[in-house]
Amino acid sequence: MFDSESIQPGAITDDSAHASIEESPIVDAHPEEILARLQAQTRRHFLRSFTAGVGSMFLGSMALKYASPVEAAELNIDGTPRLEFRRDPTRPLSVLPPQFPARAKRIIYLHMAGAPSQLELFEHKPDLTRLDGQDCPASFLQGKRFAFISGVPKLLGSQYPFHQAGQSGAWVSDRLPNFEKHIDDVCFIKSMRTDQFNHAPAQLLVHTGNPRLGYPSMGSWVTYGLGSENQNLPGFIVLISGGKQPDGGKQLWGSGFLPSIYQGVQCRSHGEPVLYLQNPQSVSRSLRRSELDAIDEINRQQYAEFGNPETITRISQYEMAFRMQMEATDALDIRKESAATQAAYGCKPGEESFANNCLVARRLAERGVRFIQLYHWGWDSHGSNAIEALNLGFTDRCREVDQPIAALLSDLKQRGMLEDTLVVWGGEFGRTSMRENRNGAVMQYIGRDHNPGAFTIWMAGGGIKPGFTHGETDAMGYEIVKDPVEIRDLHATMLYTMGFDHHKLNYSFQGLDQKLTSPKPARVVSEVLA
């Protein structure tokens, strides 16, 4: 029912009796101003707000029907109170406190794209070595899908000798001589499993909790939940070692349905840290400043006219980019580190390398970046060529990451930052206990196929129990026999160390309280917590 008076133009006054008008932003305005505003209302604006208006009328009537003491907007779909992540639109990355006291303030995630072989690094299986070259038992093949293995493959023992290291006595191969000095600082999970056996979906599952495109990366979730301490840098930064890009593509650090401010920003460890961030030649910083001031002024007028919060976000993005010109260049410049530090990581400034990225990661962590993600490449050791061979390329990959990881852990530990930084290392799935026999033939190089059924990751710092191993695989290292950990359990555990109940770090989208751990039940792996 419409009050006939309220739709007469002459009746639009500041009379507070007309509740429907009172709530609109044009209440106290002068008639000319109202006219100007109404002229600014294009057909699109009208249609958009009209449909939203019908919807809100419906919701309003429903809310009356199901009125409860707590407002509907403050509840999750399951009826528990919702955590509020609303912010000042001009400061979308401002810091919010965690749900409960956190053990970790930031995460450094080292992803070995291609899936490193756990059987050449951390899984000591003497029985598998003993049975090397024998036909694989039929039970290993029943109901299994492989990317390349066909027929009956042969079992393949570890290509490298193992020994026990540290006080914890964890087994490690001879490929990681520097890392093993930190073996008492890390916690292994040897019973990780996934339900994806191809790289791209498996990587998406690891990083977004879903094998399909369009979901926010865990870095986006964490920045959405906690903001970033440093307003001059993105809260979520991605670094790639060069070589091949991860198969999952840029969606691995995409923000999905979360506001795009929370997506990962890929920085480069040589040349310009962020492409197109620097001023063009002959444009000085002061000229850039006045240019930005002009653009900001136009944007502000735009906002005054339409009141779209996205406009404010755009202003803040321009401003952050301007501040980043200084800060990002400084943070990503490893030449500012001493020669000794560079040597400890094995850095070669001016190159794209995992070593350089590890040092950058430490510098970013010191500058309050919330989530730092490093991708290394070339771990897909099928044995189909020299680079992807366990006896050749794999050794190079180990050499590329061993020293930098050890140096990063040393640096964090020395600076007391391992107390509140969570470091995670892993791939997207594991590798088979059988030698790959592509097309049923004996291949020139030695390699293993994909095994989603079992793989190993390690975590260090930030509330994780050091010198501990969780989970176990069978004598062949093929299937999990104890304490399986799903990817979503890992996510729940990581979010727990950051101070969140994974159910509560959520975002309403498509009628669901969307969350990193997917709608399936996830468990915080309490065994690995310190």
């Binding site: 528990t80 109170p81 955590l83 400061r91 401002s94 810091v95 919010l96 406190p97 965690p98 749900q99 409960f100 006291p101 956190a102 903001g227 301490e229 440093n230 307003q231 010191e366 500058r367 309050g368 530990k413 020395q414 600076r415 007391g416 107390e419 104890k482 304490d483 399986p484 799903e486 727990y496 101070g499 109940d501 159910h503 509560k504 399936k520 039940p521 468990r523 915080v524 309490s526 065994e527 917590l529």
Partner: protein, 486 residues
């Protein structure tokens, strides 16, 4: 004078014929009693039909007195003629069911008084049924007809008793009495306690000490005295071995083929998982414990320490639970500092933050302000000192002038002063920080003299002294051994 067998009436000939399986059954029961041991699939398969066929003799036996009594009236006289056939069917179905019952009992998981009573009940049902058949009509009109009548009464009573015991076996010992209204219960003198299955496990056995508590804590609400989902009870050793409607749930020595173990060790999102989704899951160690117990023979009296590896199972890590934040209580706690905080937050954006949404404690991170943050700024935070639990002043311009202010932050658990110009004077002033767990003076002018103050901090766990004048070969006081990081 006994006539030749061929001239005997059909009934007598069949009756004698029925004697053979009855004797066979007796021999089976005597020489091969059910002992709880697991046997071949065939026995299990055949035994399964017991549950199906058992309903025939029960119904038929109850039908006989109905037919007999109704047949006395003139109107239903014709029913009398049916009794003969019904009796014959009852005899053969009773014998067949009893034999099938033996198969079921023999196939495993069955032992104990309930089973023995049910077994002999079933045997005597078939014997008395057969007797009824032989006696019926033989002494019609004579005073010996009382023999037939009492035989029939005995059969009916026996069927009732055996059927009740059978019901207890498959639906739980209290399936009839549990919902009995309490007045009736009192009148009959049935108490709930009496109905509990007998516990025959040795008290200090692995079962009683370790396994049973797991069941008691996680399973018996649905598989116990009050409810028997799937016909399964897990509140006594016998009940566990007996299994549920679908048969035994434990195969001694073989956890992988024990239904109970398969269900508790399913993937935690599968439909088969027990306890079902939504209920508290068993911890991995509890699952391991049950696996070890079954592997060791699922014995009731195996000593607790005899189960290999069980001793090495650490106390299970507590499952993480999340409490809801009580917003009103938090607001109340925060009220005293709220105004000061709002002011200071404007001046130092993103520097001061609550430790968590449920806390009034504060965390300070001034390290990103660098040289713009000085001793004066530390002093500005004064109204908040008592709430600060962690503070990072690394990279800032603070000096020893802040020492007394830092020392006033009595709640501090973590203090970071990396890359600053502080000296030993600051560390020496911090001796009274009784909550401090982590002190970071990396890359400062600290000398070994500072160790004196650090030594007396009762909760100190980490002292980061890298790139200072304290070197790795410094001889450390005992209290700091293993706590200093270079």
């Amino acid at each position: 004078m006994i006539a030749p067998f061929r001239q005997w009436p059909l009934r007598d000939r069949l009756g004698l014929f029925a004697l053979a399986p009855i004797l066979l059954l007796l021999a089976l029961l005597l020489f091969f009693p059910p002992d709880g041991a697991q046997r071949s699939d065939w026995a299990q398969f055949i035994g399964g039909f017991h549950l199906l066929t058992i309903h025939f003799p029960i119904a038929l036996v109850f039908l006989i007195p109905v037919l007999e009594i109704a047949g006395r009236s003139r109107r239903f006289q014709y029913l009398h003629a049916s009794v003969e056939l019904v009796l014959a069917l009852a005899v053969f179905s009773a014998i067949a069911s009893a034999v099938l019952g033996w198969f079921l009992a023999r196939s495993g998981g069955s032992s104990g008084t309930l089973v023995v009573q049910h077994m002999w009940g079933g045997f005597f049902v078939s014997v008395f049924c057969c007797l009824c058949w032989m006696l019926r009509g033989r002494f019609a009109g004579q005073r010996f007809d009382i023999a037939y009548i009492s035989c029939l009464v005995a059969t009916v009573l026996l069927v009732s008793f055996t059927g009740y015991r059978g019901g207890q076996l498959s639906h739980g010992a209290t399936h009839l009495t549990e919902h009995m209204p309490s007045p009736l219960r009192e009148w009959l003198g049935v108490s709930k306690q009496e109905e509990k299955g007998p516990a025959t496990a040795t008290p200090d056995s692995s079962f009683a000490a370790r396994v049973e508590p797991v069941f008691a804590q996680n399973c018996v609400t649905c598989h116990g005295p009050s409810r028997q989902k799937g016909g399964l009870r897990l509140d006594s050793y016998e009940a566990i071995l007996r299994g549920g409607k679908s048969g035994p749930v434990i195969k001694a020595g073989d956890p992988k083929n024990s239904k109970l173990f398969q269900r508790i060790s399913s993937a935690h999102d599968s439909d088969n998982i027990m306890p079902p989704p939504g209920k508290t899951p068993l911890s991995t160690d509890q699952i391991k414990l049950i696996e070890l117990w079954i592997s060791a023979g699922a014995s009731p009296n195996l000593a607790a320490n005899a189960v290999e590896d069980a001793a090495s199972i650490a106390r299970p890590a507590a499952e993480i639970t999340f409490a809801e934040i009580d917003d009103a209580a938090v607001a109340k706690q925060r009220a005293p500092i709220a105004n000061a905080l709002t002011e200071l937050d404007k001046r130092y954006p993103d520097v001061i933050e609550y430790e968590s949404r449920g806390s009034a404690k504060l965390v300070i991170n001034a390290s990103l302000m660098g040289s713009k943050f000085s001793d004066d700024d530390v002093a500005q935070l004064k109204p908040l000192y008592n709430q600060i639990v962690a503070a990072d002043f690394s990279n800032t311009a603070i000096t020893d002038r802040s020492a007394t202010n830092l020392a006033a932050m009595k709640q501090l658990r973590m203090l970071r002063l990396m890359h600053t110009r502080i000296t030993d004077a600051t560390v020496l002033a911090l001796g009274g920080l009784s909550e401090l767990e982590s002190l970071n003076v990396f890359d400062t002018g600290i000398t070994p003299a500072a160790l004196k103050a650090a030594e007396h901090m009762p909760k100190l766990q980490h002292f980061y002294a890298g790139q200072t004048k304290i070197t790795a070969n410094e001889s450390l006081p005992d209290a700091l051994k293993g706590k200093v990081q270079f």
